[in-house]
Symmetry: C2
Subunit: 336 residues, 2 copies
């Protein structure tokens, strides 16, 4: 679907200045991730495709930017008590690393069916892990209860002013590295990265068409934009385990509504095809959620004849056995 | 072992001017491959590690540079008749692509046990494939016979003036992108890339310590340097299928002897460890031969306290099933 950007103002929003201040805070801590030409994707757009490699960000995804910015703004007393977050994995890694970097401690509330490598990595960063069933339990309520009991400061995965501002730094960097982009395509889950991108592209005012990409089975943002309000969907079952939220954020949705030109959807097989191309042709490891934008491009849904197309690879946390299983599944075993 | 650079001149050598002219020929055709910071490798050197990503070169390895430079210097009549090459795979891809780029045709002589994906890729570029048994057949004699029979121009994988000059362009680019390097570590097989690097670093005269890395079971260059002459070894059995030659090149060996400070060796398990780190921490796909230099660094054999260490990732042509098999081998099946 196509949505014209809305001009209506919203309260307590994130500004380009907030993103700029976040970038200053992250300098020398977050990785200035590389931008790579992706010639194999050009033909699918009619233009020139550039990849922003947030899969090479510290902790393997853009999530480190938001978590680090949020933790950096806590008081000494808050840091002493520690932080808490829930996440399907990448935000957990990001918060664990950001807390350790700031000399604090982190408790992570993670879905019990997240990839095992993510538990190990979070614990390896010194964080405590609490698991929940994402199909039956309310992660918000659980996190709130634990925060109160232990005096921990919650670091939300996307719906937080400082997290959005931190996430926006990847887009600010991308424009600084690549110059003007005619189109910018970004994976879309809770919407933190896309909302931050909207703030940056609107302020840059270079005519960049901003596109978010979510899964076809988890199209909460597309549905919400059509409805004109935040719509709740059932937890989607998709290989893109990083974008399985049920409703757009309170803070992110108005920013997406205002600044994003279009939301596209992709199917799991299209995500697999993009991961395979990035592996085989670009020699890059990208996790399913991180490949959403590339999948929309590969599927021919992003048209930019003669233009410059920025594509964010937002994460790379997929271990080799899982990657192999996703792209070369075993034949079905027929039991007699 | 450590070898001081020799000052003795050799005949018919490659010069920095040859490399510069090759770079001009390759401009806009070869990829200016990215240089990435590799913080996870820093601690193993005491310095700062930078990766030159030739795995992202056209056809997936640095070999495209040499093949393209050599083909670009052929006459119209030679291009009309076509070219021939033997290779364990990457040079085959490079020659096939370079020939197609120049409007010529290619016949490739490839070992019968090369990874199947390499046959398919070469044929996909329009080249003809002839296979041989690399443990019993003389690939040189077979290639010479086919060249004579069909009037084809041989494009050797490394022992050729234009191939060495073309390969040297990766080092010229690396120094241009990264600035001065205290150490430059390069995978070593036939020696084309290392010889070209030696020409470039010697001309740049920035005090760069040049290190080649070969397999412990295929240490033909180390043995030859010790002996002071080219030594032939049995075909080595290693996972590094791109560096299984038996003897250093006639042209490459004198350049390596003159310009290279040290040749290190690594074992297959060390190559596997480097591939796993590059995959997991850097999100990069690197084939075994391409990971030799990174393996020496990860094994702690390259010391550069406070220095800047350049590491070439020379190729990325490993498909996902093979990568999975190398890094997550199935347990041995015990037959009763």
């Amino acid at each position: 679907m196509s949505t014209q950007p809305q001009q209506a103002p919203t309260a307590a929003t994130v500004t380009a200045r907030d993103v700029h201040e976040a970038a200053t805070r992250l300098a020398g801590i977050a990785v200035r991730t590389p931008v790579l030409r992706a010639a194999p994707l050009d033909e699918h757009t009619g233009g020139q495709v550039l990849l922003k490699c947030e899969n090479m960000q510290r902790t393997g995804s853009f999530k480190f930017r938001g978590a680090c910015n949020a933790v950096a703004r806590l008081s000494a007393e808050q840091l002493e008590r520690g932080v808490i977050a829930f996440s399907s994995g990448n935000h957990a890694l990001a918060v664990a690393s950001a807390a350790a970097e700031a000399g604090s401690t982190a408790m992570l509330v993670m879905p019990a069916d997240a990839p095992p490598a993510k538990f190990a990595a979070v614990r390896g960063l010194g964080a405590e892990v609490v698991t929940f069933d994402r199909y039956t339990e309310d992660r918000f309520a659980l996190t709130a209860r634990l925060a109160t009991e232990h005096g921990l400061t919650p670091i939300p995965p996307y719906d937080h002013h400082d997290v959005i501002a931190g996430a926006g730094t990847s887009t600010a960097e991308f424009l600084d590295q690549a110059g003007q982009l005619d189109v910018l395509v970004i994976p879309l889950g809770g919407g933190g990265q896309l909302a931050g991108a909207g703030v940056v592209t609107a302020a840059a005012d270079q005519g960049t068409r901003l596109i978010g990409v979510e899964t076809a089975v988890g199209d909460k943002n597309r549905r919400s934009l059509r409805a004109g309000e935040r719509v709740r969907i059932p937890v989607p079952r998709t290989i893109a385990d990083g974008v399985t939220g049920e409703i757009p954020g309170e803070l992110t949705f108005p920013l997406i509504r205002r600044h994003v030109h279009e939301v596209l959807v992709v199917h799991d097989d299209e995500i697999r095809a993009a991961m395979a191309l990035l592996f085989g042709e670009m020699k890059l490891v990208v996790e399913p959620s991180g490949a959403l934008a590339a999948a929309a491009v590969l599927a021919g849904r992003v048209h930019a004849p003669g233009g410059r197309v920025g594509v964010v690879l937002s994460g790379g946390n997929v271990d080799l056995p899982r990657l192999h299983g996703l792209l070369h599944p075993e034949p079905d075993v027929v039991s007699s």
